[in-house]
C-alpha cells in the first residue's frame, strides 16, 4: 500500500513526515506517470490557484479523474486540497478535480490576520478534541446529499467525507496528532483490500 502526495507546491514535507511516523510508504507525485501503483492520494495545503493551474497544465487533473473512475481510489484534500476537490467554489475559481459534491468558500474566515488555532470535536476520532490549524482556510457552504459532515466549528462544516473522499479545511499535517492521517490511511487500506 502506497499513498501519493501531490507535490506541485505546498506543505508536502509535513504530510510525508506524518505518514512516516505511521510507518507508511508515501511518494511525491509531480507527473501523471507517478500515479501508477498508488492506493490513495493526498492533496496538501498550498495555493489552490497555483496548484490547480499546474495540475491542469501537466495533465494531472485528467489523469487523477481517470484513476477515480472505478470509484475506489481514496483522495484526501487539506485546505487548498479541499478547494481542488470541491464541485463548486465561491470566489475566484481555480482549475480543479471537482469530485466532492460541496460548495467551498475560499478564504472565508478572512485574510491571514484571521488565521487561527482551535480545538475541534471530531466524533469519528473520539476524544480528546483535535487541534485544528486554520490558515486562510475555506469553509464548506453547501453539502451534497451523499456527503457526510464529520466536524464543525462555530456552525461551519470544516471536515466532510463522501465515499472514498475526505476533505478538511484545517491542516492535520502541521500538528503532532496523527489521528486524521490514521483515519485516512484506514480508508485507503479498506479500499485497497476491496
Amino acid at each position: 500500500m502506497r499513498i501519493g502526495i501531490l507535490s506541485i507546491q505546498g506543505d508536502v514535507r509535513e504530510h510525508e513526515r506524518m505518514f512516516q511516523r505511521l510507518g507508511l510508504e508515501s511518494a511525491r507525485i509531480r507527473q501523471p506517470e507517478d500515479l501508477v501503483g498508488l492506493s490513495g492520494l493526498v492533496i496538501p495545503g498550498g495555493e489552490s490557484t497555483t496548484i490547480g493551474l499546474l495540475m491542469q497544465e501537466y495533465g494531472l487533473i485528467d489523469a487523477i479523474k481517470e484513476k477515480t473512475r472505478s470509484g475506489n481510489f481514496p483522495i484526501w484534500g487539506t485546505c487548498a486540497g479541499l478547494i481542488l476537490l470541491a464541485k463548486e467554489v465561491l470566489g475566484p475559481s481555480p482549475a480543479r478535480l471537482g469530485l466532492v459534491d460541496i460548495t467551498a468558500d475560499r478564504n472565508a474566515w478572512g485574510r491571514q490576520v484571521s488565521s487561527f488555532e482551535a480545538d475541534i470535536a471530531i466524533a469519528a476520532l473520539g476524544s480528546p478534541p483535535y487541534p485544528g490549524v486554520f490558515i486562510r482556510a475555506p469553509r464548506i457552504k453547501r453539502l451534497g446529499q451523499k456527503v457526510t459532515a464529520l466536524a464543525s466549528y462555530r456552525d461551519q462544516i470544516v471536515m466532510a467525507e463522501s465515499g472514498p473522499y475526505l476533505v478538511t479545511a484545517f491542516h492535520p499535517e502541521l500538528t503532532d496528532d496523527l489521528r486524521v492521517h490514521q483515519y485516512f490511511a484506514q480508508k485507503v487500506e479498506a479500499y485497497w483490500r476491496g
Binding site: 509531480r30 495555493e47 490557484t49 491571514q112 490576520v113 486562510r136
Partner: protein, 296 residues
Amino acid sequence: MANSERGTFKVKSGLAEMLKGGVIMDVTNREQAMIAEKAGAVAVMALERVPSDIRKAGGVARMADPRKVKEIMQAVSIPVMAKVRIGHFVEAQVLEALEVDYIDESEVLTPADDQFHIDKWAFRIPFVCGARDLGEALRRIAEGAAMIRTKGEPGTGNVVEAVRHLRTVNSQIRRLVATPDAELPDLAKELGAPLSLVQEVKVLGRLPVVNFSAGGVASPADAALMMQLGADGIFVGSGIFKSSDPAAMANAVVRATLHYQDAQIIAEVSENIGESMPGLEMKTLQAEDRMQERGY
C-alpha cells in the same frame, strides 16, 4: 489553548509552509499582480518600485502607498506581502491595519533603526526577514520572524550573492549538526544567536522556519539553481518585470521552480522568453550601494 487563538506562531510559520516550492513576485500595480497570479505565483510582494528602480532613484526608500497595497490586494486571491523599513514598527502597524498577509522587514528599503529590528512577536501578521548567514537568520527568528529569505543582492539580476548566502547558511547548519551538545553554547556565542534556537536547529537539521532564496534570480535556470541548492522557494524581485517579456518570464520561472530537478523541462521553459533583466557585476557596486549590509 483558549477555545480559539489567532496570530499564533504556528499559523504564522504555517502560511510560509504553504508557499513552499513556489515563487513570490515583486509587483508594483494591479496589472502586474494579475500577470503574476496568472503565471502561477504563490504570492505577490506589493511595492512602490522594484529594487533595481530603487537603486536608480536613490534617496530614502519607504513603505509603499497604502492605496497601492490595497489596489493589489483587491486584484488577486493569492496572499499579498508588503515591505517595511528595518526597525520601522509603525510602517508595520500600518500594513497590519491594511491586513496584508505577510510583512517583509526588508533591507531593500532604507533602514529606520540602526540598532534594533522590529519586535515581531508584537504583531498578529507574520514577518519574513533577510539573512546572509545562520546567526543572522536565528536572530531574526528570535525576534519573531516566521519565515527567512537569504538576502542575495537585490536589484542586480546577478545570482552570485544569493548563492553565497544560501551556501553559507547550509554549510553552517551542517557544521552545527556535527557539533557535540556540550560545545553548542560556544557555537551560539560565535553565531550571535540564542542557544535554544541553536539546539533546535541541531534536532531538526534545518532552520525552524521556511527559508526562501532572494536577491538576484533573473532566469528560470537561476530559480532552479537556488532550489537545487536547498531553497524552499523563490522570491523574484526585479527579475520578472524588468525582463523584456514579463508574462513569459513569470511562467518560465514558476515552471522551472516546480521541476527544478528536470533539466529537460528547464530547457523547454527557457526557450523564447525574451531577455532577462540587464545585470550588474558586484565589483561595480559601491560599498554604500550594497543593500545586503543593512541589518545585523
